[in-house]
Symmetry: C2
Subunit: 433 residues, 2 copies
C-alpha cells in the first residue's frame, strides 16, 4: 500500500483547516470493497466498490459541462429504480474516449452484474438477479487516454471477493483514500438524525481539487443513508441541498466533464417510506443531509490545489439569491482577489472591482464590506475607524471571511473558495510526464 491508513487515522487531529475526520461506522444494507487495479502502476487502491445487497434507491446530479465523460453517459442512459453497485476508478476519467470508453462501461457492467448475481445466489436467502442497468460508475483522472478496461476487469473478482457486509472506520478510510487522485486528504462526513422516531445515518465520502497528473479537479461525492426514501424525494432533496453546498464552492472556476454527486438509500432503518418532500418527518434529515454535503464540499475547497487559506464569502441583503450568488462567485473566481488573499493583503479595492464586474445592479451608497468582523467599507465609504494594520493582522489567519452587505434586499448566499498561490501554478504547470 502506498498510503498508510493508520497514519491518516492517527494524523486526523492535524487536519487544521477542516477539523477532525469523522469516524464513519456500519451502515446497514451497504457493503464496501477496494483493491488496487494497478492503474497508477503502484499498489495504492484505485478501484472502489459500493454494493447494496438488496438494492438502493438513488438520485444523482452531474456536471453542467456540455462534454460528458463516458461513465456519466452510461449512468444517464440506464433506466432503473434500484442501484446494486457503484464502482469508482481513479487515474482515468473515461472522458473523450468515445465508443471504446462507453463500451468498457457496458462490458464492466455486464461482468459485475453477473458476478454479483452469483454472489447473491451464494449469500442470500432470496437471491436477486442483478442487471447491467443496476450498475453505475464514477471515473476520475486524465482525459483522452484509452480506458483501462482490461486492467479493471482483471481485478473485479478480487473486488467482489473482498466485499465486507460490515463497515468500520478503517474500511471507510480505505474507500475514501481509494477514490483520491492527488487529493492530499481523504474526505468523509457523517450525521445522524431521526425520521419520525426512527434513527437514521447519513454518511458521505468525496474527492476533488488536488491534482498533479490528471487533467482537472473532478469532484465526486457519494452519500449513503439507511433511511427509507423514494427516488423522487431523494432527487428533490439532492437538487435542493446541492445548491448551497457543492454548487457554492469554487477552486479555480474550471468544470470537469466527470463531476458526479449521488445519494443512495438502503431503507434498512425501516422508517415508513417517505414519498413526498412535504412530509414533515423529513425536516431533520433534510438539514442533516445539507450538513454532510456542506462538510464534504468545504473539505474539497480546503484541499484545493495549492490552498493555504480557506475563504468564506458571505453576500447578504441582495435583491435575489441569484444576485447574491453571482456576486459571490465573481469574488471567488477573481484571480486578483485570490492572489491578494494569498499575499495577506487586505486589498478591498479588488473586492469592489469583483462586485462591479459581477453584472449585478449595485447601489454604492448602500454597499458595506467587512473582513471577518472588521468593518472596511460602510455604506459606500471607507469606514471612519478603518485601521489598515488591523486588517493586515486579520489577513494572516488561515480562515478568511469576506462579508459583503449589498443593502438593497433580503437575500443571501455563501460561497467557499481558497487563495491562489504559487503552489497552484507549480501543481498545474508542471509537465505531466
Amino acid at each position: 500500500m502506498g498510503i498508510n491508513i493508520s497514519n491518516f487515522l492517527a494524523s486526523k487531529s492535524q487536519n487544521r483547516k477542516m477539523g477532525q475526520f469523522q469516524d464513519l461506522d456500519h451502515l446497514d444494507g451497504l457493503a464496501v470493497s477496494s483493491v488496487s487495479a494497478n492503474l497508477y502502476n503502484s499498489k495504492r487502491d484505485d478501484l472502489v466498490m459500493f454494493y447494496f445487497r438488496d438494492g438502493a434507491n438513488f438520485a444523482s446530479v452531474y456536471t453542467q459541462s456540455k462534454i460528458l465523460s463516458e461513465n456519466i453517459k452510461w449512468n444517464l442512459s440506464q433506466k432503473t429504480q434500484k442501484i446494486f453497485s457503484l464502482i469508482i476508478n481513479t487515474r482515468n476519467a473515461n472522458s473523450f474516449t468515445g465508443e471504446q470508453g462507453f463500451k468498457s462501461m457496458q462490458h464492466l457492467a455486464e461482468m459485475i452484474s453477473k458476478q454479483l448475481t452469483d454472489k447473491q445466489k451464494e449469500d442470500e436467502d432470496d437471491p436477486k438477479i442483478i442487471k447491467s442497468k443496476n450498475i453505475i460508475f464514477g471515473c476520475t483522472g486524465t482525459i483522452g487516454e484509452k480506458f483501462p478496461e482490461d486492467k479493471i476487469k482483471l481485478k473485479i473478482p478480487n473486488l467482489i471477493k473482498n466485499i465486507k457486509y460490515t463497515q468500520n472506520k478503517y474500511i471507510w478510510m480505505k474507500a475514501a483514500l481509494g477514490i483520491m487522485t492527488t487529493d492530499t486528504q481523504p474526505k468523509m462526513a457523517m450525521e445522524e438524525c431521526k425520521i419520525g422516531g426512527t434513527p437514521v445515518k447519513i454518511y458521505g465520502i468525496a474527492k476533488g481539487s488536488g491534482m498533479i497528473y490528471p487533467n482537472m479537479a473532478t469532484t465526486l461525492g457519494y452519500i449513503f443513508t439507511d433511511a427509507n426514501i423514494s427516488n423522487e424525494v431523494l432527487k428533490k432533496l439532492l437538487k435542493k441541498n446541492i445548491e448551497n453546498t457543492f454548487n457554492a464552492i469554487s477552486c479555480d472556476g474550471d468544470t470537469s466533464t466527470n463531476d458526479m454527486i449521488t445519494i443512495f438509500s438502503t431503507g434498512k432503518a425501516k422508517n415508513s417510506l417517505i414519498t413526498t418532500l412535504n412530509d414533515k418527518k423529513i425536516k431533520f434529515f433534510d438539514e442533516s443531509l445539507n450538513n454532510v454535503l456542506l462538510n464534504l464540499a468545504k473539505r474539497v475547497v480546503a484541499d484545493g490545489e495549492g490552498a493555504k487559506k480557506f475563504v468564506t464569502i458571505n453576500i447578504n441583503n441582495a435583491k435575489t439569491e441569484y444576485d447574491a450568488k453571482k456576486i459571490g462567485f465573481s469574488i471567488a473566481n477573481s484571480p486578483l482577489v485570490k492572489t491578494a488573499i494569498a499575499g495577506e493583503d487586505p486589498n478591498w479595492g479588488r473586492i469592489i472591482m469583483a462586485v462591479g464586474k459581477s453584472g449585478v445592479d449595485i447601489n454604492l451608497n448602500k454597499l458595506s464590506i467587512k473582513f471577518g468582523d472588521l468593518m472596511i467599507v460602510q455604506k459606500g465609504k471607507i469606514f471612519n475607524q478603518y485601521n489598515e494594520s488591523d486588517a493586515v493582522n486579520y489577513m494572516k489567519s488561515s480562515d478568511i471571511k469576506v462579508n459583503v452587505d449589498v443593502g438593497i434586499g433580503k437575500k443571501s448566499f455563501t460561497v467557499y473558495t481558497m487563495d491562489l498561490t504559487k503552489e497552484y501554478i507549480n501543481i498545474n504547470s508542471d509537465y505531466r510526464s
Copy 2:
C-alpha cells in the same frame, strides 16, 4: 525623469513579442503635453494632456462594470458635440472616491477650460470659449484613495505651458510612457489610409495589464485621427471595431471600473464629412481603425502581468459568433489551460474541458483541435498521427496558437490572452506597501 525615452526608443527592436514600436508623427489639430505631478512621489510623468485647439469630434466606450470610477461618471454626464481636451492621470483611479472624486473632476474641468480659453485668446485668430463640458478625463491607479486634486491642480499651468502644436516620435513616446502604471512597455500604433482621395492618419496609444501597486489592470486606449467624421459615425465605428479587438482580449478575466477607449477626430485632413456608416469611402478607414485597435489590444495582452507567452485562440465554424466568442473566452480565462501553457505542456484535455464548460452545445464528433498547424484532435478523436513530442516542441514557442474547429457552423472569433505564470502571483500577491 525616472524613465529614459531615448532608451525606450533605442530598445524598440528588442520588443520581441509585439515587434517594433511604430513611430508616431505629427497629427494636425492635436497638441500633446505631459508633466510630473509627483503622484508617484518620483519625477516620472504621470499627467498627460491631449488638446484639440479647434475641438474634436469623438466617441467613447466604457467599462461594463456596474461600479464606475468618478472620471467615467463625469465623462458620461457631459453633453457636448466637441471635446477640447482629454487629461489622463495615473496612480489614482478616482474610483470609490464618492462625491469628492466627482467634484475634483468638476474643479479640474473648470480650471482647465478657463486656462485653455485664455490660451485660445493668446494663440488663435478666432478664439473659442472652452467650457467644462468640453473636457474629459482618463484615470488609472489605486481604488479608494482620496483623489489628489490639489497635486494635479498645481501642475495644470505647467501642463498647458508645455503644449506643443507639433508632435514627433519623442512627444508621443513621452505621452505613452506618461499614462503607464506598471506596464513594462509603452503601447503605440498607427495606420495611414485614404478616405476618398484624401490621406488620413490614425494614431493610438494605450496602457494596461502591468501592475504592482495598483488594484487592477485598467485598460485605457486613445485613438486620434485627422479624418473628418461625425460623432455618430465615430460611435458606430468604435463600437463595431472594439468587438474583435479590445473586447477580444483577456489577461485574467477581471474588469476594471475605469476602462475607457475614446476616438477623437480633428477633421484637419479635410475629407468631406462622413455622416453615415454606409458611405463607401469609409471602408479603408474602417479596416485601418481595426488594425490600430487590434495592434494596441495585442500589446496590452503581450505586456500582461507575468506573461511569458502570447496566446491566440481561434474558434472556427461555430454556429454563431456569440458561441465562438463564449468558447474562446472559456479557454482564455481557464486557469488550468493558462498554467498548462506556462508549463509548456500540450495538455489538450484542458482545452476539451474549457470547451465543455463554455455552455455552448457541442457535437464531439465534429470537434477538431490544433496547436498551431499540429492536428491534435480530429473530429472527436485523437489524430492518428498525433505525436506528443512534436506538440511538446511546439509549446516551447513564445507565440502559441490554439485552433478549435467546432465543425457545426460558419462563424469565427479570435481571442487573445497570455499564460498564467508564477510571476502573475508574485506581482499580485505582493503586499501593496
